[in-house]
Symmetry: D2
Subunit: 358 residues, 4 copies
Amino acid sequence: MTTTPIPTPAATPPDILRCAYMDLVVTDLAASREFYVDILGLVVTEETDTEIYLRSFEEFIHHNLVLRTGPVAATAAFGFRVRSPLDVDLAEAYYRELGCRTERRANGFVKGIGDSVRVEDPLGFPYEFFFDTEHVERLAWRYDLQGPGALVRLDHFNQVTPDVGLGRGYLEDLGFRVTEDIQDEDGVTYAAWLRRKDTVHDTALTGGDGPRMHHIAFSTHEKHNIIYICDKLGALRKSDLIERGPGRHGVSNAFYLYLRDPDGHRVEIYTQDYYTGDPDNPVVTWDVHDNQRRDWWGNPVVPSWYTDASLVLDLDGNPQPVIERVESSEMAVTVGADGFSYTRKGEDLPEYKLGHQL
Amino acid sequence: MTTTPIPTPAATPPDILRCAYMDLVVTDLAASREFYVDILGLVVTEETDTEIYLRSFEEFIHHNLVLRTGPVAATAAFGFRVRSPLDVDLAEAYYRELGCRTERRANGFVKGIGDSVRVEDPLGFPYEFFFDTEHVERLAWRYDLQGPGALVRLDHFNQVTPDVGLGRGYLEDLGFRVTEDIQDEDGVTYAAWLRRKDTVHDTALTGGDGPRMHHIAFSTHEKHNIIYICDKLGALRKSDLIERGPGRHGVSNAFYLYLRDPDGHRVEIYTQDYYTGDPDNPVVTWDVHDNQRRDWWGNPVVPSWYTDASLVLDLDGNPQPVIERVESSEMAVTVGADGFSYTRKGEDLPEYKLGHQL
Amino acid sequence: MTTTPIPTPAATPPDILRCAYMDLVVTDLAASREFYVDILGLVVTEETDTEIYLRSFEEFIHHNLVLRTGPVAATAAFGFRVRSPLDVDLAEAYYRELGCRTERRANGFVKGIGDSVRVEDPLGFPYEFFFDTEHVERLAWRYDLQGPGALVRLDHFNQVTPDVGLGRGYLEDLGFRVTEDIQDEDGVTYAAWLRRKDTVHDTALTGGDGPRMHHIAFSTHEKHNIIYICDKLGALRKSDLIERGPGRHGVSNAFYLYLRDPDGHRVEIYTQDYYTGDPDNPVVTWDVHDNQRRDWWGNPVVPSWYTDASLVLDLDGNPQPVIERVESSEMAVTVGADGFSYTRKGEDLPEYKLGHQL
Amino acid sequence: MTTTPIPTPAATPPDILRCAYMDLVVTDLAASREFYVDILGLVVTEETDTEIYLRSFEEFIHHNLVLRTGPVAATAAFGFRVRSPLDVDLAEAYYRELGCRTERRANGFVKGIGDSVRVEDPLGFPYEFFFDTEHVERLAWRYDLQGPGALVRLDHFNQVTPDVGLGRGYLEDLGFRVTEDIQDEDGVTYAAWLRRKDTVHDTALTGGDGPRMHHIAFSTHEKHNIIYICDKLGALRKSDLIERGPGRHGVSNAFYLYLRDPDGHRVEIYTQDYYTGDPDNPVVTWDVHDNQRRDWWGNPVVPSWYTDASLVLDLDGNPQPVIERVESSEMAVTVGADGFSYTRKGEDLPEYKLGHQL
């Protein structure tokens, strides 16, 4: 892992289609199954005593999430699908040129996926690239199976990294396009959203101690689906799994909810951002002090959302060491004695908003 | 006003149909018009330089809200509609027997309403009872006029009073029925919800320094209508008008949002409680320590929601003095050093919940 | 049964609270169970080999629907809840004065309901009046049990009778209030909506050969819940159970869907009418030729909706004979060679609307 | 125009991003403005006495729809955006190789769009390809401007052509990918859906007399937005503009509504299909006799939907002659004496479904 500039390889980057699945290590598979299957209703493609393969209702590839028993809760891989088998070769060559450790497996690292390469990327994250995958039934029309909070797609990943500017440059070289970011007047970048498919992001970089996994996000069709998930958690007396929201993001314009799974892994439920597929799609830059950037309604971001995140693993399955962020933290510059936020630039917030909570 | 037991009159109480309108004093009519008409979209029945008469889209009586210019922001009357002209006589006699000051006006206190009586009730609130009112067009079918956050009905009032038990007894004598309440294990009542029409309440009593007006609530058809109001406030850079929510109430099971108008008067937007019209409708009692009672998702109640409320006026238009609550406050017993809340009885809350906010 | 004027009894009518349950005879209990429980998701309070007791999610009385095995599909009783035990006596006396056959059972006719009286009313319908009932859990907060198409309340009945004017007068005497009706320029009434609770109706009279049961209606919270029911029926390859809709009614302003159960009994799913609880609630009269009266969007009413309905039973369990309507039929005066409909009075409809369907 | 096989050019096809705008000739600009602006709420980017440029709320290019006064209601161009200026050259060369008439204009054919080429394509349709366009404000966050039926994106076009198989091959050569189609057991294709962006389609081919324009489709965020449009049309007494729906499509799984503008041009309102961006996205083939293919709920397709469509213009602005379809028509094989439809293969439909309407 490095915090010095990451060179742009001469090699052609792989043509990445989209974020496709996360390989997630959990410490209590039964507890995780209850959360992801019984509560959230993700579809089980297959399962063993140590692994569960899950997908969303509109997915046709084998899975969007692997839950795998392990000693330390962590993300083992961020899986991206590429356009063709050849792109797996390109990915391998690309990261080799970057000097990164890579591992290629013709039969894949997990069930349902064939030839793929995993890498320890320059930011310390375990990325996987694959094309070959088993097709399964797309349950889009199976309304008889879909509950009121049905998760229909994997939408994006979110990664914590100390230097967002550095990471952004690396991902742009890899072919990602920035759609939105958060900056301050000194040019410090606090977060950036990057896409391959035609949505606001396939992954985002959140400034903080890293490499860590901030969250994985699934989408629903409508906002009431997300509200239902909250209502159900209340009915199950598990409302304490709700960390933040529901609310409307400023960034992305999507409706959101953040949950914490039994290991503390953060899951976002997300719906209704906008089309970004044109090459000149306008980039939206938000002022870090704008109190509507993270929540369009100005509702406070809870501190844990800024501070907590999951470890990520190297290719041997050991947690990557976490490097501290050097630049200012978004929480520090927006709340408390040293920070400030505004709804209308130049005006103070009322008492019931940020900085005056219980 | 009294805090000693309120006798049950021998007189027959009036047959109250429903909460019907609030007479509200505001200090800047133009600012209030912007809030209630331009932002919330209430329908203007008529207006003068000093008064605006507003109604919801499904209303057929003259108004649900009067905005009236005055020197001190306050509630001048809580208006209830009774079943017949005779019930106005009954109301007058009832409060006279209680020793309350009353004032009868054959031509009403406001436009659009005829014969009515106003009283300074035993809790210090200005109540009005009327039957006679001008009918106006019910705009239920006028979708061309209804915006995405259309307010379709006046749902309820909420009053702050020091002794909820005392107030509850008085309102039950008057013919109200309790649908839900919040108590602790020692029998202290923190709040009670009381109804005449077939919903969870026409008014509620919230324990605190009073008499004060806690809020007035309008209802929408669906939850997305409420979410839209938040989105619009964000677009107008007025998200700081959002005090609390949106969320799902435990009490009432309704979806809610609390706003503050330019004078700080609190307005709730509310949808989807349940039918309560049977005489044996089950009363739901909530434990004050249950973290899902006020928000089913366990999201924190902001302190201002507990502490702030509007003054109410006597029949001369002077603010009623505010009497302190003697019993414990709901905020004190649920958060901070002296209080506690639970999602599951006996278990601590996670850090990102109550008591650990910014 | 009579078609001559029905006298107004001197006796005090019972104080009816609301439509409460229907006692429905079905010919294949397993098939009906699949429809009402597996597909529509009504809650089973209890069941035997020959009967199933069902309720909606917000109900606290024992049931809203009884499915009972029998040789002929029919309605055995329209059950109304009254305000007190005394009102059962009043009901019995009221119908005796009308010369109707009555049957009183101290232990009720069905499980979960105590002292009640059933009558063969002047229109030939089997009405039941009761107060005493077993309370069961109100599942309003049990979102974990509620599916995406959750039926939360019994809303109303709808009865087919040859002479709507006659029936309306009888029901008004009984204490019902008309909220809306459909008439023509000659004063013929084609249908009338009558209420006790604060909604548009507890029952409606539809002109046609009768006495027959036109439908029973359950309500959902939002429109998407109704759309989901359609989507689910599609997924189950049972879309042919959809008879009409979904759509927006002109009358009542509610969003609707009509289904046919395995015996052909019609079930409406309904949401979002308006408050009608004031005694001077404005009555809305629709012109029978107004093409938006039955569907606000002008979508055609299928002929079966006009012609088909269920038999009703006398107190011995035998089907009541069906008397032909003498006045014009709504279908005949609105479509086809002898009828007409308009969107804007005086203008013809476009070809893709009524009268030009496949 | 040709119905003989269309050769695959050796030239590289342009990289098409998405359907971007339609150039539509209307005969009464004021009437069209009322429909598209006052009723549907599209955003006016700019307008003159003879042209109106409209866009959806999430659009950042100059327009999605041009309304232009002319003598004959028709489509003057189907505009596609390409990835780069170079792709305009590629498009021009591609169609020249096909022997098609082309016209290149460095300053564009309409306001807000620069260098572009228009062609008379092998099927007789006027296609335009452009990259250069003026950016305008993306109103995604402007909830204060968005009504309850806000149209947020242009979703797709739909074209009528006699030989769907022929047209499909041509569009596949051009780089489109089929996502779904309707066929019969003899291999006749009745319709095909083709995409460039990651949705079910950018355009579709509907079998029939052509070349004609079947419809242009805009999307909303949620289903209730579409229902609102119907409700508003009812309120305006313009429900006769509703031709078909609302309903759920089988094909695409989207929720839909079809309207007819003052010239009879068909506009679809559409929401919630699925992600199709992977190269191996599974193609869904529907049986033409499956009664849920066009409407998942089995509601009948009105005949006008099959028979009516708009003329298209050649590059001189003259209507293209319409060629008759030779293969069977979808309407003929599915309804009436010569056709049939099923909900469950092998079972008859009930009377209130297809073939038995008013």
